[in-house]
């Protein structure tokens, strides 16, 4: 399988000489969901910011389809969409306008937009709210708007940061179904989450971060092998790592 996202030797942080993440090496390939797991403050969000091209690496690189953000900014960014942990909406725009402008920004044809948007709206039960403004939405509905915008574009890569918080069970189910569908048609998905039982069921591989470093990675089988915990669930392995037992 071809790698879509390739992160190599990535080191970075907010202050010079004080890196928050150290020498990260991982990839997201076609047709796989990769779970990014770690405690609060482990460096997941910082890693994601580097992948988004919002932070410049101190050393190493993050490449999408062989290109870095510096090489081809516009091209790099048109390969992925991002679902942030906290929904960020334009207060002045209706739901429909959010979708429309996202489609325009990512260069979709109007016809493509119209054929994709209806089933999405129905699936997430937002089809009767297209004229609503963000101040009328609950937190979960705002999250749905973010998800709809990201799914609408159908990019090669999805970067998803803790998508389940605030989402109702039907919403979670619809979202996961879409993720599986897109995965099966060749997309790669990097998903950061604390909901380990869901991650265990849906992710093909896991990246476990601790204090800015990647301490364990691989499929569940591989994680069990490397941690020496046969039969363990992802929860157990994660707790084991989080308590600093693996270095």
């Amino acid at each position: 399988m071809k790698p879509i996202l390739e992160v190599s030797d990535l080191t970075g942080g907010y202050l010079p000489n004080q890196p928050v993440i150290h020498n990260l090496n991982f990839s997201v390939k076609e047709s796989e969901i990769v779970g990014l797991i770690g405690l609060n403050g482990a460096g997941k969000s910082t890693t994601i910011k580097h992948v988004l091209g919002l932070m410049e690496p101190m050393s190493g690189s993050s490449k999408i389809l062989e290109q870095t953000f510096r090489d081809e900014p516009e091209n790099y960014r048109s390969q992925f969409t991002y679902i942030p942990e906290m929904p960020i909406l334009y207060e002045e725009l209706t739901l429909w306008e959010h979708l429309e402008l996202t489609a325009m920004a990512y260069g979709l044809e109007e016809q493509t937009f119209l054929t994709r948007v209806r089933p999405l709206l129905e699936e997430f039960r937002m089809d009767n709210k297209i004229k609503w403004f963000p101040n009328q939405f609950s937190k979960g509905m705002k999250q749905k708007v973010m998800i709809l915008c990201a799914l609408l574009v159908e990019p090669k890569l999805y970067i998803v940061d803790e998508p389940f918080v605030g989402l109702d069970p039907l919403g979670i189910q619809s979202f996961l179904e879409y993720m599986v569908t897109f995965k099966n048609s060749g997309a790669g998905i990097l998903m950061s989450t604390h909901i380990l039982s869901t991650a265990e069921r849906y992710c093909d591989r896991f990246l476990i971060m601790h204090e800015g470093r990647l301490v364990l990675s691989g499929t569940l089988e591989e994680l069990r092998e490397r941690s020496g915990l046969t039969e363990a669930t992802l929860d157990e392995i994660y707790l084991y790592v989080a308590r600093g037992k693996v270095t």
Binding site: N75, Y82, I88, Y90, L101, A105, E109, N135
Partner: protein
């Protein structure tokens, strides 16, 4: 147990400090000069206006309406914060002292504003109603008394859980105020005393009952506080940048056409800016106001070539105020990660701003041409806006947007 009185004092002091700081910033930005100018120009026109008013000018009616609105309004700053919904809810019963402090300070500022407005209208009263310092004191006393009454009952009114019910009582207060002020300006003191009796009954037996029936409407109080705070910020924002200013959104469906663009990638940014402009808080109002004030200047200042400098000054003011429309996206991740290069975004913003400047210049030109008949200078006004947007705007944008992002 929290000392709520101390909490109030702390918040009030913080509020006063902030107000003073913003005031000094406003003063630095030329507020004092413009205020003095405004007072001089205003008083000249006020005097002129008074002389020009006809004999049968319905002064009593107009003042009655004015003061009825002023008395009914009764805003109360509670200085509540969002976190209070979580942290102060458990001490609800103890909040009485906190709110009574906020009511007292509302009474102080409300009385001052009433007195101030009454003093402003005093020349009208002198010409059309009555004269003499005794009358000034009497009227001021009755108006302030009514203001205190209104604030007291308006506070109780805020306990009602539905906005529509609050509105009904507000309308009732308006009617009472209208009658009261009307009687006052007709110097019908006997009836006024009767009004006092009615107000006493209202206070104790109508509004006073709410206290027993309802608790505080925390969310509404918080929403009101936020609105009042934002109003203050918006005022300050005319003079200096207020980072805490949250824009309110108005749907303005009639203007939707202006924000409609054909479905192309290159139009995305223009669509975003235009939709924000027509719906977000005060940008549109600011644009219209700047144009109208511009007209006023063109009218007041003697005609001549220097009028071109005046309109360029207004182009500058508009651009400075509208840069915040772009910088408000500074922390929006989604805006930042669109597959659109940042210089393309900024160019789109400048193009959009140029459109507004051209319309502004065109309107000034037409106004000036109709006013003076000097169509050469009139024609140069839109030309100046074009020149301004091509020569000056790029470097300004660089300074205000590129450096801040």
């Amino acid at each position: 147990m929290i000392d709520v009185k101390k909490l109030w004092r702390k918040r009030r002091n913080a509020h006063l400090t902030q107000t003073l700081k913003y005031f000094s910033l406003m003063a630095n930005s030329g507020l004092i000069v413009s205020l003095i100018l405004l007072i001089i120009v205003g008083s000249i026109y006020y005097a002129k206006l008074l002389k020009a008013l006809p004999e049968n000018f319905p002064a009593v009616l107009i003042l009655t309406v004015l003061f009825s609105f002023l008395l009914t309004k009764s805003a109360i700053r509670t200085l509540l914060k969002e976190g209070d919904l979580v942290f102060l809810l458990p001490v609800e019963s103890g909040m009485k002292q906190y709110f009574s402090k906020s009511l007292s300070s509302a009474i102080a500022s409300g009385s001052f504003i009433t007195l101030f407005v009454f003093t402003l209208t005093w020349p009208i009263v002198q010409v059309f109603i009555t004269d003499g310092w005794k009358m000034y004191v009497t009227f001021a006393f009755f108006l302030i008394a009514a203001k205190v009454f209104n604030l007291y009952v308006a506070w109780e009114e805020r306990r009602l859980p539905y906005k529509s019910h609050q509105m009904n009582y507000k309308i009732m207060r308006f009617i009472v105020n209208f009658v009261y002020v009307y009687l006052l300006f007709n110097e019908a003191y006997v009836f006024l005393i009767a009004m006092f009796a009615i107000m006493y009954v209202l206070k104790n037996f109508v509004f006073g009952v709410f206290k027993k029936m309802h608790g505080y409407q925390w969310e509404m109080l918080l929403a009101e506080e936020q609105t009042l705070k934002m109003k203050g910020y918006r005022l300050v924002n005319y003079f200096t940048d207020v980072p805490a200013l949250k824009q309110t959104v108005n749907k303005r469906p009639l203007l939707n056409m202006l924000g409609t663009f054909s479905f192309k990638k290159k139009n995305m940014m223009s669509a975003l800016f235009m939709k924000t402009f027509i719906r977000s808080g005060d940008y549109l109002g600011l644009y219209i106001r700047l144009i109208l004030i511009g007209f006023l200047f063109l009218y007041l200042i003697p005609a001549g070539w220097w009028q071109l400098a005046v309109v360029i000054l207004f182009f500058q003011m508009l651009s400075l105020q509208l840069f915040t429309l772009y910088t408000q996206y500074r922390w929006n991740v989604i805006f930042n990660i669109y597959p659109i290069e940042s210089n393309v975004k900024i160019t789109a913003f400048m193009k959009w701003l140029r459109g507004l400047l051209l319309i502004q210049g065109l309107l000034y030109g037409v106004f000036y041409g109709l006013l003076t008949g000097d169509w050469l200078i009139a024609l140069l006004m839109p030309a100046a806006s074009l020149a301004y947007s091509l020569l000056r705007l790029p470097s300004m944008t660089k300074k205000h947007i590129t450096l801040s992002s």
